[in-house]
């Protein structure tokens, strides 16, 4: 009985030390990590809606929209979309201008397969932005389909061998734009 007790005690000690170590590291790093994610979000907003100089948050129908303004005038909106990819959820941020055109798409996080689906964030040497998401710029709603899914209207090229991931991102952007048009449709002019 004594031996078993001693073994249990040692295992408990190891667990306690491990838990303590994790708690400490987590406490120290989590504010830093959160600040990084904040900064990344800020940068992402400007990246998907470059025409905007400042952003003001607007909560509508359970969705958070970052309304973009330049020289005091509304130029569009940036907002996050979540879609189901091949390996899990893909978090996207996208920008739309006042004519209902996509101004930019950025993948914030994903767990797609390295070498295949993960190529949604692949940047070709010499480029600045991922070629796959750059395709979405200047597209209108009907064009937000893979070419292989809609030969007439589709304007998005899928990634070879990663159709599911490509389709997922495209669907996410399309549904995001649909949502935007549904909520802000009447307020848009031009």
């Amino acid at each position: 009985m004594n031996k078993l007790f001693r073994i249990g005690l040692i295992l408990m000690t190891i667990c306690l030390v491990a838990a303590l170590g994790l708690a400490v590291v987590n406490k120290v790093t989590s504010p830093i990590i959160r600040a990084q994610e904040e900064a990344a979000r800020e940068a992402a907003l400007s990246e998907v809606l470059p025409q905007a100089e400042e952003f003001r948050p607007l909560q509508k129908d359970d969705h958070l929209f970052h309304m973009g303004y330049a020289e005091g005038k509304l130029v569009g909106s940036a907002f996050e979309v979540s879609t189901s990819g091949y390996g899990g959820r893909i978090e996207i941020i996208m920008g739309v201008d006042r004519t209902g055109r996509v101004t930019g798409v950025k993948v914030l996080s994903h767990t797609e397969t390295p070498g295949l689906g993960a190529r949604i964030t692949e940047v070709k040497p010499g480029d600045e932005r991922p070629w796959f998401t750059q395709q979405f710029r200047d597209k209108v709603l009907d064009e937000l389909v893979l070419r292989k899914d809609d030969k007439k209207l589709g304007r998005i090229d899928a990634i070879t061998g990663a159709t599911t991931s490509s389709r997922a991102v495209t669907k996410g952007v399309r549904e995001g734009l649909e949502l935007y048009l549904k909520i802000f449709g009447e307020e848009m002019g031009e």
Partner: protein, 185 residues
Amino acid sequence: MTLWQDFTKGIIKENPIFRVMLGLCPTLAVTTSAINGVGMGLATSFVLLGSNLLISSLRKAIPFRIRIPSYIIIIATFVTITDLMMHAYLPQLHKALGLFIPLIVVNCIILGRAEAFASRHPVVNSTMDALGMGVGFTLALVILGSIRQLIGSGGGMIIMLLPPGALLTIGLLLALANSIARRKR
């Protein structure tokens, strides 16, 4: 075994992938390009070094009967701490290696070396063992990743980037490794 041999054995003679055949699952999953191989190799080597060091220094304190759960706790904790620290202090590197770090916990090389070596040898030897295994592992990954990328990427034979291609490639490489080893005998 000399200290130097403790290091070099992990590179060729006891290469973790081609001879000891540990950690094949994350290996096959990750080697879709050479750079992925490098990234995974480096991250795993770092964890292997830390875990071997920790477990070797604690080897007299951990009772034999609970060594496996103890090692697992130590390794998983170390990987998580590494992940958090990298996320906070080396964000660029973390972004590049992000997907691989959680995968390291399931890599049998870590537990394998802990059980087979670090738990029975002094800290210095265990460190050399970890370094050698790390180098050998990274080398194997780069070879595997390069082959699969060269043949499979950019419009080539896609199958090389998928599981069948991975298994085919490693099968052929293992056959090669075996024939070389046999000839040496």
